[in-house]
Symmetry: C2
Subunit: 342 residues, 2 copies
């Protein structure tokens, strides 16, 4: 195990962004190394997950969770290794997943941690395909989308952490899976590697005809991640009784004026349904999710791609890149070396 | 019974409107009086229902039902009296409800008719509170809204045929009922006569503060009839888990350009749901609707108000008035005298 430094590097929210976040909204600070008091667990962060919801936490606009306070450590899911334990539930060397945020080390009583078995799946999957993003795909698709064999499922941000899982699960459920992504490489990956039936490039394709061509039988489920003109275009090709799990609208998170939305007449004509959901409301679904998806990951039937930047200091730029669609796959920061990958 | 004229006056669709319909889109014609062939029932129209959905039938834009062809009789629910019957299921003098459209007489094999008992409820209610509009309120509120005691239900077009029933049913279910209507008279009626807890005047009130004041506990169900800026304003005060039955968006039916819609971020933050519905999909709910609502009407607990114009020729202007909010209550045309009201 590498030596423990004297300080704990953290990235804190320095100011609230107006529009797209910039490096200046973050502050890099070296805090004193925390100590593990009685009953506590000290761990070193290995992976930090970067996710679109973080834009909401940087803002003080109303959302489903309180914002990160200015001056506080940025929040985020993490995979870590225990370096000191005064808690019988954790041993030094254990890999754990938690919500430690943008810092190199964290300490707590361990109630917020889950021990990982690095033999059952790569530890980084605990914050990816088998973590919050994968479960978001599972809950939105299965519980709201309720896919039936033969139906067509469209998912935006299809090469991303959530979209990739939505489309592969849709295929496993017997559906036609159509992705929407932002580059030829991403579209090729979605079709050739992930096995989607088609993928529309929203940056270059004429959306309405491209969607019609990719979905000759119309759209039964649209897993909505992006908002904007794609959402409006998909609404025009939904089928009667369509279901739209509303997971996110990343194209609008940095808007400085009300971006409005699509006219909802198609919902009426097609007796369709849109339902917003937040995965953290559904911890009861975690066992079903892991029971179904962990074996699929192990068998290689649920593929995932990670886009890893090296070093905590790169996190701000990587998060900004996420809003610009520069990532290709699940965005992770390797905060320290992963001892399971050598 | 009044003498049968030599001709049957009809109002036909002359041309498709662009934007608001005008008198010139309709054609008044005197067709030959139809005869009742073997097995047929000839009836005289007493009441014709005018409803917002008719705008959709005048247009050839995609909708949930085929348009009225140019040159065809305008469609519509009717209450009629049998004047000639060669069908054992109907006797001369019977009151029936059907879908005979904008004409003085109609003939059919009777399969499209239901006999009314004028002793159990005024015959006009068969196309109002106990007909399609009432059942629309029932299905949307009960099946999609799923009201629970103590919740707040907001309904737009609250003094209209559907909205009035939504709010009264909401009160019966133990909810707080808040209406939105377009004049002080309508708002007074909604509160004083129908028993809503509050009513917002969308023409004069500042919507956001008025809604907040009328709904101190937020909005759990919004029964959406109108679209436009009211819809956007209500979205900003919905509660977590809100349900929005999407019944209509009358303010947008005459739009000549895409009116867009509200930003849907509140749906995500509040895990809320919008679901479009068309009452004609739910004939299975008619028995439950009548079982619950017919006794309420009889007991005077489900009140209704009719706005009746006299004579078929007035139907075009009355329909246009509906889109301008000029009606006050369920819009009906008295095509011929109602023998039950003397």
């Amino acid at each position: 195990m590498p030596p423990r430094p004297a300080t704990n590097r953290q990235i804190r929210l320095k100011s609230r962004p107006a529009g797209m976040p910039s490096a200046g909204n973050f502050e890099i600070a070296d805090a004193p190394m925390p100590a593990a008091g009685d009953g506590a667990v000290l761990r070193r962060t290995i992976y930090l997950s970067l996710d679109p919801y973080m834009r909401g936490r940087m803002s003080d606009a109303e959302s489903y969770a309180p914002p990160v306070a200015v001056g506080d450590i940025m929040c985020g899911h993490t995979v870590s290794q225990v370096v000191e334990s005064r808690n019988p539930d954790f041993r030094v060397g254990d890999f754990v997943t938690g919500y430690d945020g943008w810092q190199q080390f964290a300490v707590s009583n361990g109630k917020d941690l889950r021990v990982l078995d690095p033999k059952s799946a790569p530890i980084s999957t605990a914050i990816g395909v088998l973590g919050m993003p994968g479960m978001t795909a599972f809950v939105g698709l299965m519980d709201i989308g309720q896919p039936k064999p033969g139906e067509t499922v469209v998912v935006s941000a299809a090469s991303g952490a959530v979209g990739a899982i939505v489309g592969q699960l849709a295929k496993i459920k017997g559906c036609r899976a159509v992705g929407v992504a932002g580059s030829p490489d991403k579209c090729r990956y979605v079709v050739d590697e992930l096995g989607f039936d088609a993928c529309v490039n929203y940056k270059t394709d004429d959306l309405a005809p491209a969607l019609r061509a990719a979905c000759p039988g119309g759209v039964d489920i649209y897993f909505e991640n992006v908002g904007g003109r794609l959402f409006a275009a998909v609404l025009r090709v939904i089928n009667r009784g369509a279901r739209i799990p509303l997971c996110g609208q990343i194209s609008e998170y940095n808007a400085t004026a009300d971006p409005g939305g699509p006219n909802l007449r198609p919902l009426l004509i097609k007796r369709a349904m849109i339902k917003g959901f937040i995965v953290s409301d559904h911890p009861d679904r975690a066992p079903a999710f892991l029971k179904e998806c962990a074996p699929l990951v192990k068998a290689g039937r649920l593929k995932y791609r990670e886009d890893i930047v090296e070093g905590l200091d790169k996190a701000p730029a990587a998060l900004i890149g996420l809003f610009e669609g520069r990532n290709f796959g699940k965005m992770l920061v390797r905060v320290s070396a992963d001892p399971t990958r050598t």
